[in-house]
């Protein structure tokens, strides 16, 4: 299972308390993880990726294994530690604003 952590506002929106556990079939990439996340929680559609372009929203970042993967290809394989559930795929909100 893939572990995904969400910012507080998105946890509230999805009505989950902590990490989300997802089954992802096929290659584990940003795209397939986020597809599975949105399939499980349709309310998150449009809040992480733009509805129209599927691009990451500008003030969100994707971290895993102490790396910023935000600028990696959405179709690049995620680290093995994410694939085997040792590390979470983290959706992080930028620290900004008032």
């Amino acid at each position: 299972m893939i572990r995904v952590t969400l910012p507080w506002h998105l946890r509230n929106l999805a009505r989950v308390d902590s990490e989300v556990m997802l089954a992802v079939s096929g290659q584990v990439t940003q795209r397939t993880v986020l597809d599975a996340l949105e399939e499980a929680f349709p309310v998150l559609r449009g809040t992480i990726r733009d509805h129209d372009t599927s691009k990451r929203r500008p003030f969100l970042r994707f971290f895993a294994c102490e790396e910023d993967l935000s600028h990696e290809s959405p179709d690049a394989p995620l680290p093995e530690a994410v694939v085997n559930g040792k590390e979470p795929f983290m959706v992080v909100g930028a620290i900004a604003g008032g």
Binding site: P7, R45, R57
Partner: protein, 371 residues
């Protein structure tokens, strides 16, 4: 048992303020959606328990929330706002073409008769509707595509479609307004639109009497006279008596004719309210005095309403969607400020008191009269 429910959208969440018909004691509920900007929330005239809220965030984009129990509980519905066809461009601040990009929903206007039918005015300016209670949204492309869209440019707050008025006597007729394009009307249910800006005069645009390009801040209508509209423009308070075919200025003796809100008394169609604001740069009340101005003659002659409002050291703003009118026998008037106060008058503006003083900056105020 009658009562009122005030719906308040703020920079950091939504609140409902409830009272019985006396409007003396208030219950403050919220925040709902804490930390999110709530540009607007509004109830269905056909079902007062059906509410819709525009919830947005610079981080997470747009969410639409729906309540079926008067705001006690909410459920997110559809948030997919995709422009019809190839979006094209409007004019950017520097005069260059800029692609149409959806940013947020500024205003929600439920149908007068069907709680599942709702219009949404969005930034970048366009009109959307849902007919399934918010699950799916479709653009009414005739608005944005009527011909002048490529010349529209944003106001300082963005290119927002902020006003939607439905003619209660003719469901095919609607009025909308955009900052900074102007006012538009449809007579066929939204398929075709025409600019209705004749008579507006805006010194800050190259052609002060242009057909489009005026920074209209807000338009208000009394349901008994849908051909008469009142407008607070960037500068000037205006009125039309022929559904926007021509406008005339009615600023009269206002201390400044800049402001954002305008609204009409529930039972007196010639009694109107504005809150003058000092501009262009300061955007707070003149002389530090928060004054609502009332005209009982449909404009031109105005009186300051000050009882219960701060008359010194007050430097808040009252934004375009932040005034509302109830329809109790003694008409109630409500407005919210960027300082977080929501003021109410239960006697048509003669006396005011704050329902609540320390909310986040208020973006919108609506009121439901519950019978």
């Amino acid at each position: 048992m009658s009562g009122v429910r005030v719906l308040v959208g703020t920079r950091k969440g939504a609140f409902t303020l409830e009272s019985d018909g006396k409007r003396e004691k208030w219950q403050v509920n919220g925040p709902h959606f804490g930390g999110w900007e709530i540009y607007h929330l509004k109830g269905s005239p056909a079902d007062p328990n059906r509410l819709y809220a525009s919830q947005s965030s610079g981080w997470f984009g747009q969410v639409i929330q729906r309540s079926s129990d008067g705001g006690k509980t909410w459920e997110p519905v559809g948030n997919k706002f995709i422009y019809d066809g190839v979006p094209g461009t409007h004019q950017w601040y520097d005069g260059t073409p800029h692609p149409w990009e959806f940013k947020r929903v500024w205003h929600i206007e439920p149908s007068l008769t069907n709680p599942d039918h709702v219009y949404a005015g969005v930034e970048d300016a366009a009109l959307f509707q849902t007919t399934d209670g918010g699950q799916n949204w479709q653009e009414l492309p005739g608005m944005r595509g009527h011909g002048s869209g490529a010349t529209w440019s944003p106001g300082a707050g963005g290119l927002g479609l902020h006003t939607i008025l439905i003619d209660p006597s003719n469901a095919k007729r609607m009025f909308i307004a955009i900052s900074a394009a102007g006012a538009f009307r449809t007579d066929d249910g939204g398929a075709n639109w025409k600019p209705i800006n004749q008579g507006l005069h805006s010194e800050h645009i190259p052609d002060p009497t242009a057909e489009v390009g005026h920074c209209v801040h807000r338009i208000a209508m009394h349901k008994s006279r849908p051909d008469t509209l009142y407008m607070q423009k960037h500068w000037d308070v205006m009125r039309t008596d022929n559904a926007g075919e021509s406008w005339r200025e009615v600023s009269g003796n206002l201390p400044t004719d800049f402001g954002f809100v305008v609204d009409v008394h529930a039972h007196e169609p010639e009694t109107i309210y504005v809150v003058p604001i000092k501009s262009d740069s300061e955007h707070f009340p003149p002389d530090g005095k928060l004054r609502v101005y009332r005209s009982r003659s449909g404009g031109d002659e105005w009186e300051a309403l000050t009882n219960g409002l701060p008359q010194q050291d007050c430097y808040v703003n009252v934004l375009r969607d932040a005034m509302a009118i109830d329809s109790m026998d003694s008409c109630g008037v409500y407005f919210g400020t960027t300082g977080g106060q929501v003021y109410a008058s239960k006697d048509g503006g003669d006396n005011w008191s704050a329902i609540v003083r320390d909310l986040p900056a208020v973006l919108s105020v609506e009121v439901q009269t519950l019978r």
